[in-house]
Symmetry: C2
Subunit: 107 residues, 2 copies
Amino acid sequence: MNHSILKGHLDGLILSVLEVEPLHGYAVIEALRHRSDEALDLPSGTIYPALRRLERSGRIAGEWSVVEGRRRRTYRLTAAGAATLARERSEWTAFSAMVDRVLAARP
Amino acid sequence: MNHSILKGHLDGLILSVLEVEPLHGYAVIEALRHRSDEALDLPSGTIYPALRRLERSGRIAGEWSVVEGRRRRTYRLTAAGAATLARERSEWTAFSAMVDRVLAARP
DNA sequence: TTGCTACATATAGCGATGCTACATATAAAT
DNA sequence: ATTTATATGTAGCATCGCTATATGTAGCAA
């Protein structure tokens, strides 16, 4: 049931929303939900570990702050992250074209 | 290094080549390589377990034969497999449109 | 004969990752 | 007092593509 068709593509999506502007985790979830026309509604157990992975690998940089009494960690895209994003965009283009081609053939 | 962007999409690709005609594992590898313009060259450790999974779940049905002294297991798409393929095609359409939308946005 | 290449299948075990379930805390509204 | 929205986190599960390795046949070249 848990296809998780998303596997391997989440990082690119996150980097893509952070490219527009720095956001904290909760806002990343909302941004992805809006940008995908409500198709993507990621659970916290997906997004927070993903952000920590991206930070640990240097693709994004996070900083704590407190807004209206709530602490939040806001992430911005690094130069390395921008490079990764560019690579993931072109990989996605090739990959999706390939899948389209293979799925299109009919008996 | 091991992106494996393919995760979650392999079953659809296999079902799609088996929809055209029944094939054995080795021929599935070749069919995917040709249909993808040499982009996909799956190792045996990927394809054979995937075929066994699809068979165990009733999406394909396999049968042993011997051709020119070599034994092979030829798989055909079942009715359940055709239904799965149809669902995966429409899921892929929605998924790829969503990723396109999210990755397209720029700062 | 030996060795190489293509054909053909298989499995143990690894690594990565999205997700469920749960936990914690603040602020505002009911 | 309770619920809802905001905000983050982790333990542990399940899945699955892939590496590495193993086995065997057929045909051809040196």
